[in-house]
Symmetry: C2
């Protein structure tokens, strides 16, 4: 599926009842995108959509089961915990052919979540691209932005989004999504580079603990204002 | 060897004739540390030391062979290219027992240096800790600071230093070294977390190319001024 330029793609956020997914979905809905929260439970997805629509003026979220949500979308965003990553992808794989899958998965291994855990092959997102084959364009993004920042619409998010993927056009779509969510997306190279964003989250969790701060993030320095979009 | 508090540790920079090592050594010498440049060639080390001493007022660098330099130092800093990492460590391993080894190695695989290459086990620095055993305290740092920034003493370095290591006291020594070099060091957890700093360099090289900037870096956001030291 080709994303037509000028028209906003329909988005499904699988795991949209979680903090990270809900926060991203909220920001995109407020930016005018058609966004459906996906969940294993239709009821929970609908309840969360209703709750966010009531709480935030202008939000127009819908809720659905993961498969229905993914089926209707052009861009599918995966925000489930690591242990549900593969099962969720398998649940929707038949309906996402030709689409963009934005994988936000961080391979945390509780309880030592401040210690980097490299899954087999190094990257949890790369393993999903291998599972799906090249007909789905997998892009890795949004691993380092804290859910707390996503829900706080009054403050700018001081965290850049490293966007990795083997298809440059798909990366551009995700960089637009970051911008729509009032974040700065940065081209971070091929999908194999995703290991940095995935592992960095453990370092940020450790920094939050050690320095007693609520939501450390990263910023890419040395970029000129023009190339970087709004902050 | 215990670093006595209040007294500046003697430093050897192995690979000190390179851009990265020379830049770090220069900054520490100017901050009052006793710094020896180490190289496989004594002549090249001495020539580089003389050159930097002439070029930068206040620099008092010395040059020596790697083994002699490491032998006289309390903190040994490894800045050789990846392909010489193991051989250099083997050359000095008998004289660094009980010391701190700061490993700056980035496992780049030319020609595709903007593509993350994970060495076996994930981290090039962790493999050195395994080689040396626990009697040497290995700390990973300074992978993401461009050599160009290190030599430019007039501008502040807009790049934080992720400091990983299993010994917290050794990490503190390296955070002091970052500060002495007018950079901000940040505790980034156990040595296994070093994979982030090692792999991030490939992403930064890719960003330099794509966005046509000379030296992209990273900054940890969300830290309060007090906990972070000078910028």
């Amino acid at each position: 599926m080709k994303i037509s330029s000028g028209k906003l793609p329909k988005i499904a956020v699988l795991g949209g009842t979680g903090d990270q997914g809900g926060g991203l979905a909220l920001r995109w809905s407020l930016a005018g995108y058609h966004v459906t929260l996906g969940s294993r439970s239709v009821e929970r997805a609908s309840a969360m959509a209703d709750q966010l629509n009531k709480q935030y003026k202008g939000a127009k979220l819908e809720g659905a089961g993961n498969r229905v949500a993914a089926s209707a979308a052009e861009v599918v965003v995966l925000t489930v915990p690591y242990k549900f990553q593969r099962a969720t992808v398998e649940e929707v794989c038949e309906v996402i052919d030709g689409k963009i899958l934005v994988d936000v998965t961080v391979p945390l291994m509780p309880p030592k979540v401040a210690r980097v855990h490299l899954p087999e092959g190094g990257s949890a997102v790369v393993s999903i691209q291998k599972l799906l084959g090249s007909s789905v364009r997998v892009v890795s993004a949004f691993q380092n932005v804290s859910a707390q920042h996503l829900r706080n619409l009054d403050e700018p998010i001081e965290c850049d989004v490293l966007v990795c993927g083997d298809d440059v056009e798909a990366r551009e779509v995700v960089i637009d999504l970051a911008k729509a969510g009032r974040m700065r997306g940065v081209h971070a190279g091929p999908l194999v580079n995703s290991v940095v964003a995935e592992a960095l989250t453990s370092i940020l969790i450790g920094i939050n603990r050690r320095y007693k701060v609520p939501g450390a993030g990263i910023s890419i320095t040395g970029l000129s204002g023009e190339t970087t979009g709004p902050r």
